[in-house]
Subunit: 181 residues, 2 copies
């Protein structure tokens, strides 16, 4: 189990290709949502909420609001909502909270045999697609739609992003210190 | 394997109790670092670097810099460094990047039989303990020390944080929409 878990974490990649039209079973989507909600949050403020969209008519409207299109063939999409409240004094960890929830969901998606990609800048950029999505999903004003995660079976093999050698990014006991890899 | 992964994600909790003094094998720390570095990053900017501290003399100094103490008995601590560069235009995803890397490491730590806790506000608060840690670790000025993750065998059972029912935080097809749980 241990190695399988580490292998899964290391093998996860972003998938931007086409998806099969096969619906994602409701139970699988619920398991992915539960993985997201089980992430830690700063001072346990639980600032993240989630909406899984799998209704075909709704999905068509949501996808139409995203121009240029980013996941036109995905049979389901999970929208990540963030309520940016302070954890204490003026300290807000809402970004950390939703990023941890997203990473959990990306891993759960891969563990269940699906692919996904973290789409954030596409919807929160200056054209504010997030506001159109929020309106379609009935999201209250205290929440922001910060991310969309497609979920589906990939029709093409995922292509891992090129990365710097790990030896240039991690060490033991000092920055640029003892070799870890 | 699939269920084991989801169970691991759902069972992870923050551990704030005492650790056994048993050293963490170097290979296990390296595997945890690799899990962190395999997280996605906005526009693949790879803004996260990591330092695992397991040298006893160094650890003593690092722990002494953290007042009040937060993990006095941990036999190893991973420090998360962030280089807050823009992914495009004025958009910076460095917080998302390191939060995803931290969540990967928390899961890898648990998968290998250890416990941990996400300590961020403790070191980045107004007393700027992060600056003392950066000096001890030789971290260049372009990087911030944003988080410390203890790693070790727990001496007490972890206590899960109380959480809102998932049904109050996730739905299908609308905010407060169809029941997911």
């Amino acid at each position: 189990m241990e190695n399988a878990m580490l292998t899964l974490i290391q093998s996860r990649t972003s998938y931007r290709g086409p998806y099969a039209s096969t619906p994602v079973p409701r139970a699988d989507l619920a398991a992915i949502l539960a993985a997201g909600l089980s992430a830690p949050s700063g001072c346990n403020k639980q600032t993240v909420s989630l909406v899984a969209a799998n209704d075909p008519a709704l999905l068509t409207k949501l996808k139409a609001a995203i121009d240029p299109p980013i996941f036109p063939t995905a049979p389901a999409v999970i929208f990540v909502l963030s309520r940016p409240v302070n954890a204490y004094r003026d300290k807000c960890f809402a970004v950390q909270d939703y990023a941890a929830a997203i990473e959990n969901m990306l891993l759960a998606i891969r563990a269940l045999g699906y692919e996904s990609c973290w789409y954030e800048g596409h919807i929160t950029d200056d054209d504010r697609i997030d506001l159109k999505l929020a309106a379609l999903l009935g999201v209250p004003k205290e929440y922001r739609v910060v991310c969309a995660l497609p979920v589906g079976k990939a029709l093409e093999p995922p292509r891992p992003a090129p990365k710097k050698p790990y030896a240039e990014r991690a060490w033991f006991n000092a920055f640029d210190g003892e070799e870890a890899f």
